[in-house]
Amino acid sequence: MDYNKLINKSLLDIKPSGIRRFFDIAAEMKEVISLGIGEPDFFTPWHIRDAGIRSLETGHTHYTANSGLQELREEISKYIYSRQGITYDPRSEILVTVGGSEALDLAIRSLVNCGDEVLIPEPAFVCYDPITTIAGGIPVKIETKVENNFRLTARELKEAITDKTKLLVLPYPNNPTGAVMRRRDLEEIAEVLRGTDIIVLSDEIYGELTYGDTPHVSIASIEGMQEKTIVVNGFSKAYAMTGWRLGYICAPAPLTKAMTKLHQYAIMSSPTVSQYAAVEALKNGDEDIESMRQEYDRRRRLVVDGFRSIELDCFEPEGAFYVFPCIRSTGLSSEDFCEQLLHSQHVAVIPGTAFGECGQGFVRVSYCYSAKHLLEALDRIERFLKSLRGR
């Protein structure tokens, strides 16, 4: 039986990335020091876990409303107001999803018709492109540049817009570069979008993890943008709750309604135990976020300094928990660099090309590890560079 004939054509057309092979080697290698993980090493704070446990003990084991617990949506609304000063109606403008991932899927599939173009600044997280493709849309990549601090500029955006543009993905703070968009940058983007019907899909999953002087700014908080923005956020990164699979969408009511329809048929409702835990996270989790953020910040400084002291150019990341050093000075491609580093020193970092072609010449390094682990990895990378340069 030729199963390939049976599988959905768009899905079949999505080729597994060439990097898969590298990942498989890394996954099987023993004693590998990985800097490859994109999730917090912290455990979910106890009071949040307790809230989950308590919800089970008291028998909250049923479905919730499709769009999520009313109490949770109210807390989300309060949270966004406290951070961004904008208001979302918990009844009609907030939807609780299975992680930020489902939220992105819902947003893209609910909007994109066959042939619609979706603008994706790269380097970026890997899911926007395939979801767009499956939905019949056309991913249009915008290459962001290190000399612009990997920010999307108004000019780059303007050049990419056509009359088919439906959606702009705005993935900041950015995985893998750690770039953030400042209010000014966002105002310039908003200016380009004013008067168009282009919707912004703002992926703000790392919004709590910024290290500059100013906290994260959502594009939805820019004058006139709330009505054309879908904000995606979640609990995974801010509260170290990746395994709970809980995220949410805030968007104008008609869009939320459409996404809820899709959510209802695909998912029914998000995990109940996680929703109760999330209520506790929003009510009493600010101190946890802050202490984890400070810890990430210390590691961030350590790793950036580490790369610079071994003479690799390293863009100073201001958000998320990655650094994105440039490895061009070694003369190697990203893939070769990663593969040789893995084989010779058993250190796993991720080729920049995993996040788009324009990631060539860079590697992504996660600092979701203890300082001890990071220092050991940096030592090994230094040895690797010495052996390269000694040749």
Binding site: A27, I37, N175, R298, R299, F355
Partner: protein, 159 residues
């Protein structure tokens, strides 16, 4: 200061350069802060966290509960000072609750410690009674997990 203490408490062997980078201050400032912490008696020393269960020769540790009669004018200080003067005594704490002084004693064998209690501690003038509890296994000590390193159950690569 608090951030510096937290880092040193996590690993007292960070270099000043590493501490400076992590805290976003200069090495001179790190040095000055450490000196201040030492001078003001906040930092009392730097020692490794040893799992004596794994060391050879192995050491034993016991917690000895002492009930004592406090002296007029001196309270518990006089007896505490006598107890802590013994080399075998690792730590001494004044406790609330069922007994007065908690004394941690190390030795090479049960015998050693038993003899120390019988010959040195029990005869002290104000000691009313002793109860000796041997530590059988160390799970966590000074914030460090002793039994086995907690496993990282995350996959080694995750975009």
């Amino acid at each position: 200061m608090k951030a510096l203490l937290k880092l040193l408490n996590e690993n007292a062997r960070y270099t000043n350069a590493q501490l400076a980078v992590m805290l976003g201050i200069t090495e001179d400032e790190v040095q000055q802060q450490i000196k201040d912490l030492e001078n003001s008696g906040v930092i009392k020393g730097y020692r490794p966290v040893i799992n004596w269960d794994n060391a050879r020769p192995a050491h034993l540790t016991a917690l000895i509960e002492l009930k004592v009669s406090p002296k007029k004018n001196f309270g518990f200080d006089e007896i505490a000072q006598k107890v802590m003067a013994f080399e075998e005594v690792e730590s001494v704490y004044l406790m609330s609750g069922g007994y007065d002084l908690a004394v941690f004693v190390t030795g090479q064998s049960f015998q050693d410690i038993a003899m120390f209690v019988a010959k040195r501690l029990a005869p002290l003038e104000s000691v009313l009674s002793t109860a000796t509890h041997f530590i059988l296994s160390r799970y966590k000590q000074s914030g460090v997990i002793m039994h086995e390193e907690p496993q990282d159950d995350r996959r080694s690569i995750l975009i």
